[in-house]
């Protein structure tokens, strides 16, 4: 039997990888995937808690998160495409018109 803390540790590690990825990656698509990784790390936490507590809410929450993540992906990719059309780049650091 794998204890709860292992699941929590794994999801914390995944979440951290996602966070670090957002900060160090330059490609918008990769950045976006890192954010998805963060969300999925949370999903893992929710599912393990759900199992641990014997409560179904956590799993329902996961479904809602997945649905929302799908919507977010659709909108996010649309925004990225629109930016790519105007700028022809996927480097997030080149979008620096607005500053100071």
């Amino acid at each position: 039997m794998v204890p709860l803390s292992w699941y929590l540790a794994l999801s914390a590690v995944l979440f951290t990888i996602g966070v670090v990825g957002v900060v160090i990656q330059r490609n918008i698509i990769v950045l976006f995937m890192c954010i998805e990784l963060m969300l999925n790390a949370v999903n893992l936490t929710l599912v393990s808690f759900s199992r641990y507590l014997g409560d179904v809410t956590g799993q329902l929450f996961v479904f809602i998160v997945m649905a929302v993540a799908a919507a977010e992906a659709a909108v996010g990719l649309a925004i990225i495409i629109s930016l790519f059309r105007n700028r022809e780049t996927l480097n997030v650091d080149e979008a620096d018109l607005l500053k100071l």
Partner: protein, 683 residues
């Protein structure tokens, strides 16, 4: 009824503001003047038919408009209160305000922003009346800010002139410093007394009544009352242009002349005096604060008077003169003679409004010339302006039996005889005030002489300038001309007031009965300390106690009268001496152009120039005005602003524009917050 006094000008402002652009000048002027006239009429009716018939101790009319806010135990009503103090104020504000409105219809004739001007002016009347009729500190503050806003708009009225914009900005920044003091004071009042209302409300006594029951804080002790009084005074120095916040007022003359007369001489700038007198119950509890007020007042009076001596712009002379006279008023408050201060506020409103309007008439007649060195001999061309201004000039110089004489003399005497300050202070301050009186007479005489007497110093150059096609409305000849009736009628009325306005307050020593003082007495707190710090009940006032207590003790009067008469005689003498000196120097030698009649007199002039006028002029221009005013004070105000701007410039570089940097900052913030929570959890 009270609310209509206040609302009438607001209605005028709204009408002119909304549709004024489409109306012609005559109608705009009519709306503006009529709205103020309504308010004036109501003010007089309420004052004489409702306030005066009440028994002296119960002269308070309150009117609840609506409850503005009530949060927790804090409550502020939009309520108005008319008592003798605000009564005096509304009478001269509406009266002088109406005259200046009428005058302005002539003065602003042909100006493209005519409707805008009158909108602001009406709005100003609304705010000023709100200020003086407020029944609590918060509503007073609304009026306080409102008059500041109107002043700011009107100083910067001539948009195309750079100095107007700068002056407006300076006025605004300087006043913020004062407002800060006011806000903290208001806050402290609420914390200390649990009320910011002047009168009892819902069973909670007003803070003034509560303050009256507090013990006097000994001289040199910094208690809560001293704190409140000094912070209120900081607010007052901003609005009423006292050291060190006076710098904005001379610059404020960049606004149109009627504005200078109404806002920057007669009404708004005396709001600080009003505040001090209104809160006299607090102020008298702190001899320390009173000493500060008296010293600042006296210092401002003499400081501004010396500067006034060396100015060549007719409006600048009057502006420094206003600062100086305001110093007198604060001196009076500081020595406990609040009624004398208010008396001077009133007479000053008459004669200074007159002088400003007169100067406007001169400027108008001279086709926008303000330099008195380029005037001279104008009495021939502008007889009415000259005659009326003469009344103002003699009044401010302290010519016997004119309005300024009574009020100034009252202040001088009260300063001499004060019981509010430690021994000797009163005498020393009297010396300063007397010297200021002398200087006042000198510089006013100089201004009058250079403007109206002697040879004409305008000529070909001016004509050429005029011929270049400058304005249509002023006639087509190059000579100075008398102003239209709409301008000289208000001058004449004000001249009469300047002459007789002092008769309401003839002191006992001169055979009068000082109605003015008796009238104000119930709302003004009495000084309760003698110089050695022990509390003295007003009922058994010491010989040195202020005259508010004096009428009850005829026995003491006998002793006082002789000194008072002697001092009065001395101040009359000083006034005449000042006028004499002014004439002696400037009539002969306004610009060193005129030949001297006698050689030895010429020698005296030279001596005077070298030994007295020269250094004073030099000091005042080069040291006081340029260094103190321009460098130090302006420098400080700008310095604070620059500090924040620099900090701002530094911090904005955190905004790099890179999304990843932002994410990193969020991450760092998150780590700090999580660490703190983790630390608490682990503890």
């Amino acid at each position: 009824m009270l609310k209509w006094i206040i609302l009438a000008p607001l209605i005028g402002a709204i009408i002119n503001g909304l549709v004024g652009k489409r109306l012609n000048e005559r109608l705009i002027g009519l709306i503006a003047c009529a709205s103020v006239a309504v308010s004036t009429a109501l003010a007089f009716i309420v004052f004489f038919t409702q306030l005066l018939p009440l028994p002296a101790e119960k002269r308070v009319i309150t009117e609840h408009f609506f409850t503005w806010l009530s949060v927790g135990n804090f409550r502020a009503d939009f309520a108005y209160m008319l008592d003798p103090l605000s009564g005096v104020y509304i009478l001269f504000i509406t009266g002088v305000g109406l005259l200046i409105h009428i005058y302005a219809t002539g003065y602003m004739h042909g100006d493209p922003g005519f409707y805008r001007f009158f909108t602001y002016l009406n709005l100003f009347m609304f705010m000023m009346l709100t200020l003086v009729l407020a029944d609590n500190l918060l509503v007073l503050f609304v009026g306080w800010e409102g008059v500041g806003l109107c002043s700011y708009l009107l100083i910067g009225y001539y948009i195309d002139r750079k100095e107007a914009g700068d002056a407006a900005k300076k006025a605004f920044v300087t006043n913020r410093v004062g407002d800060f003091g006011y806000m903290i004071a208001m806050f402290m009042v609420f914390v200390t007394f649990g009320s910011i209302s002047f009168v009892a409300k819902d069973g909670v006594p007003g803070f003034l009544e509560q303050a009256a029951t507090r013990p006097v804080e000994a001289f040199g002790v910094f208690g809560i009352m001293t704190g409140i009084a000094l912070l209120l005074f900081v607010g007052a120095t901003g609005k009423s242009a006292q050291i060190p916040l006076f710098v904005w007022l001379p610059d404020a003359m960049a606004g149109p002349t009627p504005v200078s007369a109404l806002i920057h001489a007669a009404t708004m700038v005396t709001a600080g005096v009003y505040l001090t007198a209104r809160c006299s119950a607090v102020v008298v509890k702190s001899p320390t604060a009173m000493a500060v007020i008296a010293v600042i007042g006296a210092a401002t009076a003499i400081f501004a008077a010396t500067i006034g001596l060396a100015q060549n712009d007719i409006k600048k002379v009057l502006a420094y003169s206003t600062v100086s006279q305001l110093g007198y008023m604060f001196l009076a408050c500081g020595v406990g003679a609040f009624t004398a201060g208010i008396f001077h506020v009133m007479t000053h409103a008459f004669f200074k409004a007159l002088l400003f309007l007169g100067s406007g008439s001169v400027i108008h007649g001279m086709h926008e010339e303000q330099d008195i060195r380029k005037m001279g001999g104008l009495r021939k061309y502008m007889p009415i302006t000259f005659a009326t201004m003469m009344a103002g000039w003699l009044a401010i110089s302290g010519f016997p039996l004119l309005s300024g004489f009574f009020s100034k003399d009252e202040i001088l005497w009260q300063t001499w005889a004060t019981g509010a300050l430690p021994g000797g202070w009163g005498k020393a301050l009297w010396g300063v005030a007397a010297l200021t009186a002398l200087l006042t007479a000198v510089y006013m005489t100089r201004m009058m002489v250079l403007t109206f007497f002697g040879k004409e110093r305008f000529g070909a150059g001016h004509d050429a300038h005029h011929a270049a096609g400058h304005d249509e409305g002023h006639g087509h000849h190059g000579k100075p001309h008398e102003s239209p009736a709409s301008m000289w009628i208000p001058l004449a009325v004000l001249a009469v007031l300047s002459i007789v306005g002092g008769l309401v307050g003839i002191p006992k020593a001169l055979g009068g009965s000082n109605h003015f003082e008796h009238f104000l007495e119930p709302v003004i707190a009495r000084v309760q300390t003698a110089d050695n710090g022990h509390a003295v009940e007003p009922a058994e006032a010491a010989p040195a106690a202020v005259a508010t207590a004096a009428p009850a003790h005829p026995a003491e009067e006998v002793h006082d009268t002789s000194t008072e008469l002697a001092l009065t005689g001395l101040s009359v003498l000083l006034g005449f001496l000042g006028i004499g000196i002014g004439f002696g120097i400037f009539n002969r030698n306004p610009l060193k152009k005129m030949p001297t009649l006698l050689e030895n007199k010429y020698y005296v002039d030279e001596f005077y120039d070298a030994a007295v006028i020269g250094p004073i002029e030099h000091t005042s221009r080069d040291l006081l005005w340029k260094v103190v005013d321009v460098r130090i004070i302006d420098g400080f105000v700008n310095g604070v602003a620059r500090l924040f701007a620099g900090l701002s410039d530094l911090l904005r570089f955190t905004q790099t524009g890179y999304a990843r940097n932002y994410a990193a900052v969020i991450l760092i913030g998150a780590i700090i917050v999580i660490s703190y929570f983790g630390y608490i959890a682990a503890r």
